[in-house]
Amino acid sequence: MSTTTDTPVAAAVDATARARDLLGVSRLTNQALTTWLHGLPGVDQVGCEARAAALATRSIKTTSKQWAIDLAISMIDLTTLEGADTPGRVRGLAAKALLPDPSDHSTPRPAAVCVYGDMVATAKEALGASGVKVAAVATAFPSGRASMAVKLADTRDAVRAGADEIDMVIDRGAFLSGDYLTVFNQIAEVKKACGDARLKVIMETGELVTYDNVRRASWLSMLAGGDFIKTSTGKIQPAATLPVTLIMLEAVRDWRDLTGEMVGVKPAGGIKTSKDALRFLVTVNEVAGEDWLSNQWFRFGASSLLNDLLLQRQRMTTGAYSGASYIADDSPSTAY
C-alpha cells in the first residue's frame, strides 16, 4: 500500500475535443460550458451536511483502525508551503517521509512530499528512487493571480526539476465571474505542460461560496483533464471539510460512470487528527467506493496529521499512550 504506481498517461487526450464530444457541441464556448455545468443537479446542502455528519459517527476500532491508520499514512502528501522554507527543512521533511517512525520500521511511507517549485530539486535529491513522489505547487500558488505565461513557466520549471506531480490552482476570479472557458483552457494548458506528471487541480473550495459551485468546479476540472481534484491550498479557511469532500467524491464517482476514467481526490488543509482522517476514509469508501481507497486515487494534503497518525499507531503497537518526544522532529529549524 505504501508505493504508488504510475498512471498510464491518458495518451495526450485533447481535452477540448473530448469536451466537445461530451457536451455534444461543435465548438466549445463559454456558453456551452455554462449550460452544461449549470445543468448539473444542485447540491442539497442540508442533506449533504447530514450525510457527512452521519458518516463521521462511524466507529473504527482495533484491526480495522490499524489498517486504516496505515492506509492514511500512505495517503499523505507531506506538505511544507511556507515562505520560510529552507533546503534544510525540505530535507528534514524528506527524511521523515523516508522513515516516518524510526522506532518502527514497519510504518508505511507517505505518498509524496509537497513543496514549492524551487524546492523540487532539493526534495528530489533527498528522496531519490525511494518511490516517495515529489509534488510541487505551481501556477502562482496560492492566489493564482498571474498571467498564463507565468503559470506555464512555473509549471514547466517544476516539471523540469523533477516533480512527479503538479498541484495547480484554478483562477477563482474567472470561475466566480462565470468565465468557465478561461478556467477550462488554463487547466488544459497546464495539463499539457505537465507532460508525464500527474496534475492536481486545487479548486480552493473555501472561496467558491456554494456547494453547487464546488460540484461545478469539480466537473470542470475533470473535463479539462485534471488527474486529481483537490479542495484547498491550505491558506484559506475553511479548507477541507467533510461535506465538500463528499461532493467531490460524488463527482469522481459519477465521472467514472460517464467516461470510464478514474480521477483522484485530495482534501488538503485542516485535517489534523487521526479521527478526522478516518472519517474521510469512511466517506471515501461509502461515497466513491473501495477503488478509491489507495494513494493512487486519494490523498491527504497535511503536515501535522502524520504526527498524530504516528502517535495513534504507536499507541496501538505498544499499548501505551505516546507523546511528541517519540515522534521525529521534521522541522529542526523551528522551536518545538
Binding site: 501505551a320 505516546s322 507523546g323
Partner: protein, 304 residues
C-alpha cells in the same frame, strides 16, 4: 410547597474547561457516616461525579503538556503570586469547603474547619517556595578549573498524581501544590469516594489566575485510570500517594509500568507492598517538591 432539590452532577476539569467524561459515565457520591449516624443507616446522597476514563486521562495529559512550557516560563515570582491567589479564592469558599470535607470525611464542624485552614495554609506555604527553592537546592559547585559550574533546578514536565483516598482536601493540596509550584503541570485522579473537595478546588483554580491545563482534575477510580497514566510515555513523573486504600490499584505494577519511559516515581508511604496514607497534618519538608525537579548544570568560563 416544598422546593425541588437541585441535585448536582459535576464534571471533570481538563485544560481549563469543565467537560463531561468522554465515556458519558457518572457515579453517585455519598457522605461518610459521621459520629451520630447509626450503623446500617442509609448513606446520605451528596452529588453525582463524572467517572473519568482512560481517554479523559489522555486528553488531560495533552492539555497538561500544552500548558507546561508557558507555566514553567512564567517567572518564579509570578507563579508564587498566581498560587497565592488560589489560596485567596479557597478562603472565600471556605464554608463550602468545610461542608464538603465534613461530608466526605465524617468530621465534626470544628475538625473540618481546622482541616480547611491547614489546607489553605499549606497552599500558601508551597506558594511561598516558588522563588526560593532554586536558591536552596541549586548553587555554585566547586570545580578545579577556570570555570563557573552552576546547578539549577528545573521542572520535570507533566506529573500524574493519584490524590490521597482518605484526606480529601489537605492531602489533595499537599500533593498538587508541590508539583506545580516549580512549573510542572499535573493530571490528578481524585479520591474515588471523596471527590467533591477536589471538584471545588477545580472551581477555585478556574476562577483564579492559574492558566488552563496547569491542573487537570479527573474524578473516578484510580484502579481504572492509573495504569494508563503510568504507562503514558508523555508523562514525566507519577505520584502514587493515592494508591493507599484505592480499590484495584497495585502500586508496584504502576511503578513497573512507569519504568518504561523512566518516569520519576513517588512511592506511597508504607513498607513493602503495603501502601498507607501518610499523616498529612505533619509539617511537610521539601521532598515532594524536589521529587519533580531535574537539575541543570552549566559550565561557564571564568573571565580574568
Amino acid at each position: 410547597m416544598s422546593r425541588v432539590d437541585v441535585k448536582k452532577t459535576y464534571k471533570l476539569y481538563i485544560g481549563g474547561k469543565f467537560p463531561r467524561s468522554e465515556s458519558g459515565r457518572s457515579y453517585e457520591v455519598y457522605a461518610a457516616p459521621s459520629g451520630r449516624a447509626r450503623a446500617g443507616a442509609t448513606p446520605r446522597f451528596l452529588a453525582n461525579a463524572a467517572q473519568g476514563s482512560r481517554k479523559d486521562a489522555r486528553d488531560a495529559v495533552t492539555a497538561a503538556r500544552a500548558a507546561q512550557p508557558g507555566w514553567a516560563s512564567a517567572t518564579a515570582y509570578n507563579r508564587g503570586q498566581v498560587l497565592y491567589r488560589v489560596a485567596e479564592v479557597m478562603e472565600s469558599r471556605r464554608p463550602q469547603l468545610v461542608q464538603e470535607v465534613r461530608d466526605a470525611e465524617g468530621l465534626t464542624a470544628a475538625a473540618a474547619e481546622a482541616v480547611v485552614s491547614q489546607a489553605i495554609d499549606r497552599w500558601v506555604w508551597y506558594a511561598g517556595w516558588s522563588d526560593k527553592y532554586v536558591q536552596v537546592l541549586g548553587g555554585l559547585n566547586p570545580v578545579a578549573g577556570p570555570y563557573f559550574n552552576i546547578s539549577a533546578s528545573e521542572p520535570t514536565g507533566v506529573v500524574a498524581v493519584l490524590a490521597p483516598q482518605a484526606s480529601s482536601l489537605l492531602g489533595l493540596v499537599s500533593v498538587i501544590a508541590p508539583a506545580i509550584v516549580s512549573g510542572n503541570t499535573v493530571v490528578v485522579v481524585t479520591s474515588a469516594d471523596r471527590p467533591l473537595p477536589a471538584i471545588t478546588l477545580a472551581e477555585c483554580l478556574a476562577t483564579s489566575d492559574v492558566p488552563g491545563g496547569v491542573v487537570n482534575i479527573i474524578s473516578g477510580r484510580a484502579g481504572e485510570i492509573a495504569p494508563w497514566l503510568a504507562s503514558h510515555r508523555d508523562v514525566n513523573a507519577i505520584d502514587l500517594a493515592g494508591a493507599a486504600g484505592a480499590e484495584g490499584v497495585d502500586w508496584a505494577a504502576l511503578e513497573e509500568a512507569s519504568a518504561d519511559n523512566l518516569k520519576r516515581v513517588v512511592r506511597p508511604a508504607g513498607t513493602g507492598a503495603e501502601a498507607v496514607e501518610p499523616d498529612w497534618t505533619e509539617t511537610p519538608d521539601l521532598s515532594r517538591l524536589t521529587a519533580f525537579l531535574e537539575t541543570k548544570t552549566v559550565w561557564h568560563p571564568k573571565g580574568r
